[in-house]
Symmetry: C2
Amino acid sequence: MAHHCYFNGITTSVEATNIHITDLGLLRGYGLFDYFRTYNGRPFKWDWYWERYERSAKLMRLPNPISKEDAYRVVLDLIKKSGLDDCGIRFVLTGGYAEDSMTMSKPNLLIISEDIHPVKPKEYETGIKVISHEYVRDYPDLKSTDYKHLMILQPEIKEAGASDVLFYKRGYISELSRSNIFLVKNDILITPNRKILRGITRRFVLELAKEHFKVEERNVELSELFDADEVFTTSSTKKVLPITQIDKKIIAGGVVGSKTKFLLDLMNEKVKNW
Amino acid sequence: MAHHCYFNGITTSVEATNIHITDLGLLRGYGLFDYFRTYNGRPFKWDWYWERYERSAKLMRLPNPISKEDAYRVVLDLIKKSGLDDCGIRFVLTGGYAEDSMTMSKPNLLIISEDIHPVKPKEYETGIKVISHEYVRDYPDLKSTDYKHLMILQPEIKEAGASDVLFYKRGYISELSRSNIFLVKNDILITPNRKILRGITRRFVLELAKEHFKVEERNVELSELFDADEVFTTSSTKKVLPITQIDKKIIAGGVVGSKTKFLLDLMNEKVKNW
């Protein structure tokens, strides 16, 4: 079996799916992107996901051309066609075709099934390294296709032997390029709540954590990370992934913390029977 | 005749040109855009244009797959096929196809001929209205495909009866969404020189103006516009276009200034026999 793409009502193999070059997503970066994954062939937190997708479309002034029910049917069909229990589903909603390269008429909706590129198991044992970079995404609470900044930074990330980049602005951290960030200090779980994309996994982990720890959602200074007891990042593909180095600074002796492990285990347990 | 698109070595009609959905320009907004126009069938300021295109590609870490000479041949062929004396030429260079939606391999280059959408002649008589908006483009000195912010602002621009948006940040102006800005005060021509795209027409107008006026390229406060003697914007399609209203404020009594007219006439004269 293979991955497929739903494009404005028609589903074909990803390989066979093309888009016309006057698409405003291509010409003007006018595109919403969203992503979730499945566990055991079932979309993970579909309701949360859909809520965010609809909200993003509204904020981007892109008319959403599909109902929640129809989208769910499409998603189940794509999962079935993939032949996989665990796959990623990408939504791309663009401003559609514009002959004058500016005026939106009818949006283009792509729904694509994909392989999941999981974290190397070893990274859950060692943690990852990230580099910090002063930047905040435009419309950070929207999941758009705007990853230009990350793409341009790729050589720096590679050169530093890092896995990702941590964004901060005027001393306050926001998020990694495609995931949220948490820290633990004195048994309190802390995560930024401004200039971020509200990740589905972030929300899930916060719900799990609130039953066990004190939780603070607030402005977080970059400097707080350097003497944190634990730092980790969350996303659909990373789940709960420890961060043990930021730039040249080793966090908490480079050891993966107990709360990070606890939350990862708890999440793994919850999704096992999703 | 009709417009055509060169795509990685093959030229077909724009209508028939598609791109695969794994293109990083579409999925990740990782695309360079550049644009120039022709006069009398000849590319206007091709050398300046090429210099900027190559510089943008380098800064975006996009390997440029075509030599200046080959690109020029392509451009002349597209102009010929268009059957037009005056047309627009759009370059779009993206991160290419990426199966994992992240890793760049070989960039995709599109070169497209287009109709020019000229300013309504009346607007040179009355000037245009713009609205101000606090924003600065990410990598402002790069001409990328990142116009998301402008696309989202479209309803505000329309509602205000404006033609465009003027960006400023912390009190300092930078540029309009697709053109540069100038003001005249006490016979001095002033234009911002930071956080801007260095437009081909901006450069051309500065060269023309320096023979006639005192010119300052420097930081410009938004408030300076409101008691300017003249304000105008420059771009390939707008040439030298007066601005007579910013938000609710009428500039210089709403009258198009003499230096604006002088520079527009001078430019029209210069391009007539280009």
